[in-house]
Symmetry: C2
Subunit: 342 residues, 2 copies
Amino acid sequence: MTAVERMPAATSVPGMLARGRELVDPPLRQALDRLDDHSRLVAAYHLGWCDEHGRPANGSSGKAIRSGLTLLVGEAVGGRAEPAVPGGVAVELVHNFSLIHDDLMDRDTKRRHRRTVWAIWGDATAVLVGDALACLADEVLAESNTPYAAPAGHALAVATRKLIRGQVLDVAFERRDDVTLAECLDMAAGKTGALLGVAAELGAILSGADPVTCDAFRTYGWELGLAFQLVDDLLGIWGTPETTGKPVFSDLFAHKKTLPVVWSLQYGGAPGRDLAAWFANPSGDASEAAELVERAGGREWALAEAEERVRNAGKALDAAGIAPANRDQLDQLAQFVAERQL
Amino acid sequence: MTAVERMPAATSVPGMLARGRELVDPPLRQALDRLDDHSRLVAAYHLGWCDEHGRPANGSSGKAIRSGLTLLVGEAVGGRAEPAVPGGVAVELVHNFSLIHDDLMDRDTKRRHRRTVWAIWGDATAVLVGDALACLADEVLAESNTPYAAPAGHALAVATRKLIRGQVLDVAFERRDDVTLAECLDMAAGKTGALLGVAAELGAILSGADPVTCDAFRTYGWELGLAFQLVDDLLGIWGTPETTGKPVFSDLFAHKKTLPVVWSLQYGGAPGRDLAAWFANPSGDASEAAELVERAGGREWALAEAEERVRNAGKALDAAGIAPANRDQLDQLAQFVAERQL
């Protein structure tokens, strides 16, 4: 079966995401226009729209999976993507607020091959531009000017609180060497599940879906988020430089205890114990650790778990009662996330 | 005229603020209960409710002027403070979010005689707890469960953006020595006017006032905010340790170019030029600089400007059409702000 047969061009996932972007980018730019000149430049740089001096650039600003999801759900519920657009803009703003603050807290100097905001402009700018983007998200949603603005704002605030909680756990876990798989999954649910969950939920809320349907879509997005994180963690170990832009084994070089690692440490028997010894005294040879994760079963577990999450996402959609064509699109998006560059 | 004659005990400003606090503190504590244990401890510490180990404390958490204002406006518009309570909680949350982030950005190690959040728990905690408080503000407002939740959320988001913009200007001005009075007033409007403005506006919105009345109250709060800042700047130079908890001339020791200083530099003639020379090469003798501000006319200007702002606040209330007793309370609050500890 060729790729074309599986996904007709008009509804291929990259095509769907590109179409979503065309709807979301103009109001996203308009939202940034409310900022002072300096903050707008910094935000536009972070989004890949210009270089640090404001010269137009074609940097990648990511795949816009979150806003794409919001629009697809909007279409599935109400037949049109337009009412969901403020939701798509809001989730992109919150996503980028969290990236700017996370880069600062983690002291990461690079993102998508470019210097991070704090690394160029300092801590205060990173704090303030992140704060401003979170604020714009609320403004845009409140202006959607429908009876759904208040429940949409509430859903976004709850999800943002869970997103922040995920980062709180992440920071706390860095100081511990006894983090359990359950704790790691809880953190991943916050850091990735909450925002993909609300991305889907907002599409439903803004299209006037009933609460049961809104919940079903939030669960779909949430499960998708966990699949996304599991795949991300697999790519962090075995992803090639061509697909990830990072050296192979990069998360192991950084001694990051991602989900496949934590599973291996907890359930991986003898290879898991060897892996624990490697982390206690890491050698420069990260391929050794990757081999141990594989022998411990961590790679296999993460792949199976990602597939399970995609199946759960599909089950959640059963409760949403949507037309087959829309269902097909959302299933394809879930598959796309799970198979991403693996 | 004694203080008692001027302000009957039941409606004295400190009494009004204490009463407001009784209404706002319980839902504020409930909001914090949604946070993870660590973030809740940090927030409760910052609010003066406990020490850094969680032991109950009676630290001052400020005068709660913002939430008090929200409730007084609620009463003035609708006869009851209760509908305005979520607004009072939200403005206190946003105020404290901005303090925690500001302390981090300014690298201030003390606030109200206690170590600041970043100084105790580090940068990441200060970023995350600030983010979480901003988020809780949105949640609380969205849950107010009235047709006014969406316009209230919008007003808060716009004001928060202006507050952030004020801090952006503050950070930028630290690197410049040619900041004009107009620019400083613009910054003060953001840093102090925006939040007092929305504090008053939310009381009106949540009590069902029409848009013209809501605007009138926002202007009242905005002008009050500028009076507040001018008085703060005067206290930063001439405030005694008994009233401010800081040494006299403290802002001058820190070489801060506050509003009376900037006025003196721009309009203060020969003493203003001497003051510029002092700032270019500050001696340890801050009393010399204070004397120059006074001779340049900066102190007199700031006092007169604060009084003018209080008058403007009163004029704005004329458009709100409220009962004399409520009007009297709001006028008293404005006077209290302007005469605070001077």
